[in-house]
């Protein structure tokens, strides 16, 4: 990664401190004051989102922000670095985070136990995400990954049902396994390079012992793929995301999965200088398989939350289709994948929140019996449908822009197989979205005993869905943030065989 020579302003580092320490402080306060958890948490969420906005503006104005933690320079100390990529994901996290927080105040209003534990755990999850996005240190990233995994697993279990616990345990085991695989890679890199700073490692990798670097890269990326739930490592995701409370599912699908994808991307582009050609091809094949397999399974689900969860499996696949395209010279594919990641974050959160509304209203999420609920909750249905537009990749949504850019790269390289997968994924997405939306237009067969849904829950879902659509109109505004270093075909490291530790 070429270092930005322009002197960073003072604003950036200050706001980086804020985005990591504000949610942390909020989490501790929520834990200490369980009765005030909701108001304290909401304030912390609002402040965190505001500082993220400030950091975003600072980075857009002054370029990459850097901080030396403890005042120690790189090989000895830990660095924070917020560049365009970090800021884009931080901003998406903040947008989803603050909306989910609003939603959660209403969602957990009547459940004291869940409320008192949701807030500290969720704010720690947010802390972990922000810390991960600004960290420029391989080992520190490991700690943030673990923090993230524990917070996510605890939140998954929050509902307390056997299904939730099983999902949480499986998730925790997978998460720890992935982190250990990553840590093994870090150990090898440290002993090959004598540093864990991203920029210094990037400079050292070309001259370091190749087998060690290859195995390290393979172990790190394999561990992260496990956490990103790339096919065939997706088995843990649907049960976990499907059984968690709605705001938690939203956060897990929208943000947590993206964090490990971000790290794969960061390593691939900034540290390893672009991986080997055929490793990228392998990732592309897995991505394509994920798109098709995830979509087909989503279509076959009978429960709404599982449908949405499998949709995540499919959408994660899209992100990896970018790898073969980008390695072959289409840097536009990175922008496309990032755009898809951001749009998916917003849209998928909106979908899970909508599902939460329907579940709250009708007491179940069996798709075949959703008719009475969708009739009574038009705003929720609108949110789901708008989010669906982005997931399908129809214009002018964020999902459309991402798919367009991927398609552009695929056509330029005449990769018609990938073109077909990208398009087919969209068609299948339309099929599973309309499987749900279609219920809005059937006459409601039976009246059920129903619970009112607070307007805040409906509006926050709609807000996120609208954001996913509006994202489609903002590419000129944010594309400077998404310019990743051109992944040159001449790679510094060719990853080792398989990498499937």
């Amino acid at each position: 990664m070429p270092l930005d020579p322009s002197g960073p302003g003072l604003a950036g580092p200050a706001w980086m401190l804020a985005v990591v320490f504000l949610p942390l402080a909020g989490a501790l306060l929520c834990f200490l004051l369980p009765r005030l958890a909701a108001p304290v948490g909401l304030v912390a969420a609002a402040l965190t989102a505001a500082s993220t906005l400030a950091l975003t503006l600072a980075v857009m104005a002054d370029g990459t922000a850097r901080t030396q933690l403890g005042g120690w320079a790189a090989p000895l100390g830990i660095l924070w670095r917020a560049d365009g990529l970090s800021v884009a994901l931080l901003a998406m996290t903040a947008a989803v985070g603050v909306t989910v927080s609003l939603y959660a105040t209403a969602y957990f209003r009547n459940d004291e136990h869940e409320r008192t534990f949701f807030w500290p755990l969720w704010l720690l999850l947010w802390t972990a995400l922000n810390a991960l996005f600004v960290s420029a240190d391989l080992f520190n990233l490991y700690v943030t990954l673990e923090l993230l995994g524990f917070a996510a697993a605890s939140l998954t279990a929050l509902g307390g049902s056997a299904a939730a616990l099983t999902g949480a345990i499986r998730y925790l085991l997978v998460s720890v396994l992935g982190s250990l695989s990553y840590l093994l890679g870090v150990a090898l890199i440290y002993h090959g390079c004598g540093t864990v700073d991203l920029a210094l490692v990037a400079a050292c990798v070309p001259d370091a012992p190749r087998p060690a670097m290859q195995v390290a890269a393979g172990a790190m990326i394999a561990g992260l793929l496990l956490k990103t739930a790339l096919f065939p490592f997706h088995f843990w995701l649907p049960p976990a995301h499907g059984s968690a409370p709605a705001p938690v599912s939203a956060v897990l699908s929208a943000l947590v999965v993206k964090a490990s994808f971000y790290l794969v991307l960061r390593l691939w582009v900034d540290v390893l200088g672009g991986g080997g050609r055929w490793v990228a091809e392998l990732l592309g094949v897995l991505g394509a398989a994920a798109v098709l397999w995830g979509s087909v399974l989503a279509l076959r689900q009978e429960r709404l939350k599982l449908l949405i969860a499998y949709s995540t499996v499919a959408q994660v696949g899209y992100l990896f289709i970018a790898f073969p395209l980008a390695v072959a010279g289409g840097a536009v594919a990175w922008t496309g994948a990032l755009y898809l990641a951001l749009a998916h974050g917003l849209a998928k959160a909106a979908m899970f929140l909508s599902a939460g509304n329907l579940l709250r209203f009708g007491g179940h999420d069996r798709i075949a019996e959703l008719d009475s609920a969708v009739h009574r909750l038009p705003l929720t249905l609108t949110a789901f449908a708008l989010a669906g537009v982005s997931i399908m990749g129809l214009p002018p949504s964020g999902g459309f822009i991402g798919k367009w850019l991927l398609l552009e790269a695929a056509f330029e390289q005449e990769r018609f197989g990938l073109v077909a997968v990208i398009l087919l994924g969209g068609v299948l997405a339309a099929a599973y979205v309309f499987k749900v939306v279609g219920h809005a237009f059937t006459p409601a067969a039976r009246e059920r005993r129903i619970r009112a849904v607070p307007p805040g829950m409906e509006w926050s879902a709609l807000l996120l869905a609208a954001a996913a659509i509006v994202l489609g109109l903002t590419l000129p505004l944010i594309s400077p943030l998404l310019q990743l270093g051109p992944a040159s075909a001449a790679s510094a490291v060719t990853l080792a065989a398989g990498g499937g530790a």
Binding site: W404, E408, F411, A430, F441, T442
Partner: protein, 518 residues
């Protein structure tokens, strides 16, 4: 004239946006209105429709004086969303804005008392918004955007009734249109990677790369036509259209005459003229197959129409056939044929909407859905059937009704281009048209009613406030007026085809401006 119209006004760039907003905003507001707020809803709908028509009229004036309206918004790095109003856009704009107004009036009458009206009118307005967006698209990306929006906003209208048949029709409709959308997207992106631009231009924008990538361009042409061909109901992509007949009559009118099918046909026109350029398309050898598809569609649609007893299904297959006149006109390479095709955009719309209004009136007033139930209905509903007769005769091509003009120019165009077979197709199609319309007219006017107009008549009299044997309109005024207006229109635009702003003259203007005379 000039003081009225100052081309320097910055507001002119906003006019396309206002045209969109005039249906978008009422549509969004209507969603939030309670079912019972009939007055507010109707005022919003009609206000928006009149406003749109006024704005379009204003732009006719401007375009006639050479003004071009353009609005740009960056969407991708070097690709903008462009709304632009030229002569061709205006033709489609006038059609959709005008017919939207009529259809809104009709729908207000048709849907009295029925449930989910706010939802219906909301999507109705969004649907028209998408259509005018398609009309004003300045590049293929913008076209794609509004074309997909049209898909999404018409789906709720197709399944509006919520019955099992409606649900199935919705599935068929979506399957067709979503797959078509994927093709269109693929073709668009592929084209962009070759040319680096998507801006519509007279005589197209592919000529520079045509020699390098003939095969790719042919494939792109197929993808794009496949994408729009579903909405244009080209055989074999037409399967959704007869199914969609389960929707309420105003929706059918909208699908067939104003929005969906028209957008598809308009898309074909754009792709041939403004993307590829007619000469480039001919040089690639893609117009021949397109003409063939159109011819097959024309004959096939007519043949199928012949055997439908369900009135709306017969009309639907008639649409399949008639819309391909437009495609045929475009695909026969030559200016006169193009005039015939383009003017048929308007002519077919006006005539077909009349037919659907009438069919809706029969169903709504007398419960008639089948051709075999129409014996003697002309005496019971003379005005409705009068309008129906005019439109049907126009479809067959009887002068001086609008349909005759289209067929005349198509035939002339074929002769001008030196090909004869389209002539035979037209003749065959006209005979078939006669074969499936004339029996209806005969039954309606000449036959005795099979029985009393039982149950539906009672309902009509109850709604008329118990007229007690006194003469009363054959059905509600809101249902009767729209077909009368459109029927009169289809005669007038045929009679006065050579007047300054008639559709024909306007098409000639378009062809002069956009068609390259050698």
């Amino acid at each position: 004239m000039t003081p009225l119209f100052d081309p320097q006004l910055p507001a002119d760039a906003l006019l396309p946006l206002l045209v969109l907003a005039s249906s978008l905003l009422p549509g969004l507001v209507v969603f939030f209105l309670g079912e019972a707020r009939v007055g507010t809803r109707t005022a919003l709908n009609l206000g928006g429709a009149f406003l749109k028509l006024g704005l379009v009229g204003w732009m006719i004036l401007g375009v006639y004086h050479g003004q071009r309206y353009e609005l740009r918004m960056p969407l991708l790095d070097d690709l903008d969303l462009v709304l632009r109003v030229g002569a061709l856009s205006l033709l489609f704009l006038v059609l959709s804005a005008g017919l939207w107004l009529v259809t809104t009036v009709y729908a207000v009458g048709y849907l009295e008392q029925s449930p989910h009206r706010s939802r219906f009118f909301g999507f109705f307005s969004l649907c028209v918004t998408a259509t005018v967006g398609v009309a004003m698209a300045g590049n293929l990306l913008t076209f794609l955007l509004f074309f997909e929006m049209l898909t999404l906003t018409t789906y709720p209208l197709v399944v509006h009734r919520g019955t099992e048949a409606a649900r199935r029709a919705g599935v068929v409709y979506l399957t067709h249109t979503v797959l078509a959308g994927a093709l269109l997207l693929a073709g668009t992106v592929w084209l962009y990677t070759l040319t680096g631009t998507l801006a519509f231009a007279p005589r197209g924008f592919v000529s520079e790369v045509a020699s390098e990538h003939p095969a790719a361009l042919t494939a792109i042409f197929a993808l794009l036509i496949g994408g729009v061909g579903v909405k244009a109901a080209l055989v074999p992509l037409h399967g959704w259209l007869p199914q969609a007949m389960v929707a309420p009559a105003p929706v059918s009118a909208l699908l067939h005459a104003v929005a969906v099918v028209k957008a598809g046909a308009f898309g074909v026109v754009l792709i041939v003229y403004d993307v590829f350029g007619i000469e480039q398309a001919a040089a690639l050898g893609v117009t021949g197959p397109l003409a063939l598809v159109a011819a097959v569609t024309i004959v096939y649609g007519s043949l199928r129409a012949l055997f439908q007893d369900d009135l709306k299904r017969r009309l639907a297959f008639s649409t399949v056939s008639q819309v391909s006149y437009i495609v045929l006109g475009v695909a026969i390479v030559g200016p006169l044929a193009s005039v015939g095709g383009i003017v048929h955009l308007v002519h077919q719309g006006v005539m077909k909407i009349t037919l659907f209004f009438c069919a809706g009136n029969l169903a709504e007033t007398l419960g008639i859905h089948k051709v075999s139930e129409m014996n003697g209905v002309g005496r019971r509903m003379p005005w409705t059937m009068g309008a129906f007769t005019l439109a049907a005769l126009g479809m067959i091509g009887v002068p001086p009704i609008a349909g005759f003009i289209s067929k005349w120019y198509l035939s002339l165009g074929a002769l001008e281009a030196g090909v004869h077979w389209p002539l035979y197709v037209l003749i065959a199609s006209s005979l078939l048209n006669a074969a499936y319309f004339l029996p209806i007219l005969h039954a309606a006017w000449m036959r005795e009613p099979s029985g009393p107009w039982a149950e539906a008549a009672a309902r009509a009299s109850a709604q008329a406030g118990d007229g007690g044997g006194r003469p009363r309109p054959e059905t509600r005024w809101l249902l009767l007026l729209p077909p009368l207006v459109t029927a009169a229109l289809s005669v007038l635009i045929g009679l006065f085809a050579s007047m300054p702003v008639s559709p024909l003259e306007w098409s000639l203007l378009i062809v002069e401006r956009e068609f390259h005379y050698p």
